[in-house]
């Protein structure tokens, strides 16, 4: 029985990137396919969440359905939502740019790049 001392990610034998196990002298022992967690369906780890923060926004007299799609951890999303509520930030009323997809940390860093000061108002919207 060969004792495995090292396991690493390598490009091996025309099979692409695989996990290779080697012994103490660096000799090949076995290989297994390399899988990145969540990569197949577009995820990046268990803690990454996608949250929609949506409603009807009003900028001066212009009323429109607006939406932020925040991605990030729970804490980052909470900070972004708190910022959007407290600073009354809504997406800018520019055609085709009222549905914004942004990471929560990026939004927290520079919120006025992704919105302007307006109001979230009570109105029936076409979204669950």
């Amino acid at each position: 029985m060969v004792k495995v001392t090292k396991q690493s990610k390598e490009i091996w034998c025309k099979r692409g990137v695989v996990n290779v196990a080697r012994d103490s002298k660096g000799r090949f022992v076995s290989w297994s396919p390399f899988k990145e967690i969540g990569s197949r369906y577009g995820g990046f780890g268990e803690h990454r969440k996608e949250i929609a923060f949506y409603g009807t926004a009003q900028y001066h007299r212009l009323r429109y359905s607006a939406r932020y799609d925040f991605t990030g951890s729970g804490k980052q999303i909470r900070n972004a939502v708190a910022l959007a509520l407290n600073e009354r930030i809504v997406p800018k009323p520019i055609r085709g740019r009222t549905f914004i997809r942004v990471s929560a940390s990026e939004f927290t860093r520079d919120p006025y790049r992704y919105g302007c000061t307006g109001d979230w108002v009570e109105y029936e919207i076409e979204s669950p």
Binding site: Y41, G42, G43, E46, K49, E50, I51, A52, F53, Y54, G55, Q58, H60, R61, L62, R63, Y64, S65, R67, D69, G74, I77, R78, V81, A82, A84, L85, R88, P93, I94, R95, G96, T98, F99, D119, W120, V121, E122, Y123, E126, S127, P128
Partner: protein, 163 residues
């Protein structure tokens, strides 16, 4: 405001002082199959959840009640976005539900399927009423998301917008 900048979904409000309210929070992703059943009785929801799960081998499902005769279904198995849309459209077509048709169209426009998890104008947060089958993938993700966003939901509920 430049007139050309006004899009199809924008309207000029008559009232200068609108009634303020808090925006909603929704769980969204591309790989979990989610269906919004508006105006369906519970028996019908359960029937379609079971039939869809069997037909597409989705492993398990969860039913959440968002308000009277309004339910959400979340399935367990992860699928690709094209398959996800195909499943939702299959249910809409087979059940002949107009509201579900509208839901499908909205999800296709946004390229993401969304289910509400916060309160909405008198409606409470969706309550889980029924579970069946495996709960280790999509359902786990949905429940985890709800659990981890509880502080955010409480914050939104307690927030009173300034006049």
């Amino acid at each position: 405001m430049d007139a050309q900048a006004i899009g199809w979904n924008m309207k000029l409000s008559r009232h200068k002082k609108p009634k303020l309210c808090n925006p909603l929070l929704g769980f969204q992703d591309k790989q979990t199959v989610k269906i919004d059943c508006d105006g369906w009785p519970f028996k019908k929801v359960k029937y379609w959840a079971g039939r869809t799960m069997e037909w597409f081998k989705l492993g398990g499902y969860l039913i959440a009640k968002s308000s009277e005769k309004h339910y959400h279904i979340v399935f367990n198995r992860f699928v690709t976005w094209s398959k996800n849309l195909s499943i939702i459209n299959w249910v809409a077509q087979q059940s002949k539900s107009r509201k579900l048709d509208g839901y499908c169209i909205m999800q296709a426009i946004k390229e993401n399927s969304t289910l509400r998890i916060s309160k909405k104008q008198g409606k409470p947060t969706p309550i889980i009423v029924f579970r069946y089958g495996k709960q280790d993938k999509g359902i786990k993700k949905y429940l985890q998301c709800r659990e981890e966003l509880k502080p955010t939901l409480e914050m939104i509920d307690n927030y009173a917008p300034l006049p």
